[in-house]
């Protein structure tokens, strides 16, 4: 589900579609973005931060939403990731950001997902993060990473 589009600015744009409850393909975006970053020779610590946050964001869509789309814009100094989903939305964003707060159903928790650390873990990896949500419509998560100099 990876679709690279030509664009006018000097960035690589990668797009991934994510399906709710599809655990088998979850992680494809993280792997694809990582491969691209490795080919671009981006710093190892940045690859790591982006891969972790992307995976968490993908899993959030898989667990909570019906479907979603992840777009990564990769430039030499910064990476922007935008995850938009159609789903139940988040009624209280401040509460959702708290450690251990989870609305994941029991059967998902039994699989080892949905421990309520997803957003916390994402926050730890990113330089900027913005969360927008409309109840019963969906959620948009924007992540920004800056390159902290080459190794």
């Amino acid at each position: 589900m990876n679709d690279a589009r030509p664009n006018n600015d000097s960035r690589i744009v990668l797009e991934f579609r994510i399906k709710g409850m599809d655990f088998t393909t979850a992680g494809e975006a993280a792997t694809g973005i990582k491969r691209t970053m490795t080919q671009l020779g981006m710093p190892a610590d940045m690859i790591r931060r982006v891969a972790s946050a992307t995976y968490e964001a993908e899993i959030n869509v898989v667990i909570h939403a019906h479907r979603g789309c992840l777009v990564a814009k990769i430039g030499p100094e910064r990476i922007e990731i935008c995850v938009e989903d159609e789903g139940p939305g988040i009624p209280d964003i401040d509460l959702a950001m708290q450690d251990g707060y989870s609305t994941a159903p029991t059967h998902v928790r039994e699989m080892g997902f949905g421990a309520g650390m997803g957003l916390t873990n994402i926050k730890r990896c990113v330089d900027q993060m913005h969360l927008d949500s409309v109840v019963d419509k969906g959620t948009t998560l924007r992540l920004l990473f800056f390159s902290k100099g080459r190794e």
């Binding site: 030509p6 000097s10 990582k34 490795t38 981006m42 190892a44 891969a51 873990n121």
Partner: protein, 443 residues
Amino acid sequence: MADYYHSVTLDAEKCKGCTNCIKRCPTEAIRVRDGRAWIFEERCIDCGECIRVCPNHAKLAVTDSLDLVKAYPKSVIIPAPAFMGQFPTPDPGVVLSALRLIGFDEVYEVALAADAVSMAMRRYLKEHSSPRPLISSACPAVVRLIQVRFPALLDHLIKLESPMEMAAKIAKDTLGPEHGVFFVSPCPAKVTAIKQPVGRDKSAVDGAFSMSAIYAECLRQMEHAARAPLIPKASGYGMGWGRSGGETTIMGRDSLAVDGIHQCIKVFEEVERDKLAGLDFIEAQACVTGCVGGCLAVENPFVARVRVRNLAAERGAHGEEATPGLEQRLKSDYFTYLSEVKARPVLRLDDDISRAIDKLRQLEAVEDQLPGLDCGACGAPSCRALAEDIVRGYADEMDCVLKLRERVHGMAEEIVDLARHLPRSMGMKSHTQQSEDDDGEAG
């Protein structure tokens, strides 16, 4: 290119230029050109997957000749723990004796050094705050895989020498530096680790012999050896290193063992996403079943694995007290790497990120034009790899047989068009006639 030594090499005579190896290589290091395989030296991690998969036995692991022993006044042979799994005899002492009878002054079990390294690893886990899970550095193909594909995980590597390196060091320290030390290797990765080590400038091992060659030599000595067996000193811990799961037995509950290079990649991807932070330790081995599955081993890997497991169980576990001189060695950093393990960023398209982005965009554009069959007929493992080669200047779009066919088709159509076209000198009549004919056909 001369910067790299590799044990894995090609016998150009035997290579038929098929696509088996290019498809299997975990770092996409092989291409077929001029009817034979070529290895990108900077990418190869000596895992031996291509050796295993080649139907023509054109890939081989270069090891040393037994004649090398003559260059040293005295000699020690150090067998990998996996070697014990090659023989049906339940007594490892007989195998040790046979090894010496081949023509060595001493035998030192790598498994004994593995006992010491096991204890050093436990200490390392307790004393080092480096990111979890720690990853064993015992398999050299795995270390190189991390250098090439997972640079972000270099911090996780346990910076302790392998049992092989330690066995050689201890043997020289205790028996005398005039001893040449020779390893019985299950795989090419270990041979490369001796010729071009990571974590130190020079290995203490002086040469490596193929396990299968030494196996044959040992068989001739078995009868004699059975009458005068040596006494093995290694514990079950050290002996267990010969198979997958051996290290995790030592490192406790929160450890994971993975074997097979492609499975290792999957586990490392999980580590990279911080999904396995709850684990203390990962034992990762490039060969399925661990060292007994090395491509220089003789016995069926699963049979050998059971033998090693049973031998280890019979010998039982030893604690730190069973390893003499351990405390002193730990204090003096005897086991630790002497130099840094660096990333090998050979997959990047350009040293400059902006230029790399341009190249990647070209790559994606080229890939879009390719059929996506990943047939390998162009000599690259996938359409994407061909696109990468084109952008790097190593290949041409016409290397793709389907693109070539498309182009031939286009040219053939053009030729038919030209053939129909009559010169003006032959008159308008013919032009009119032709269009009437065309109308006729269409009608």
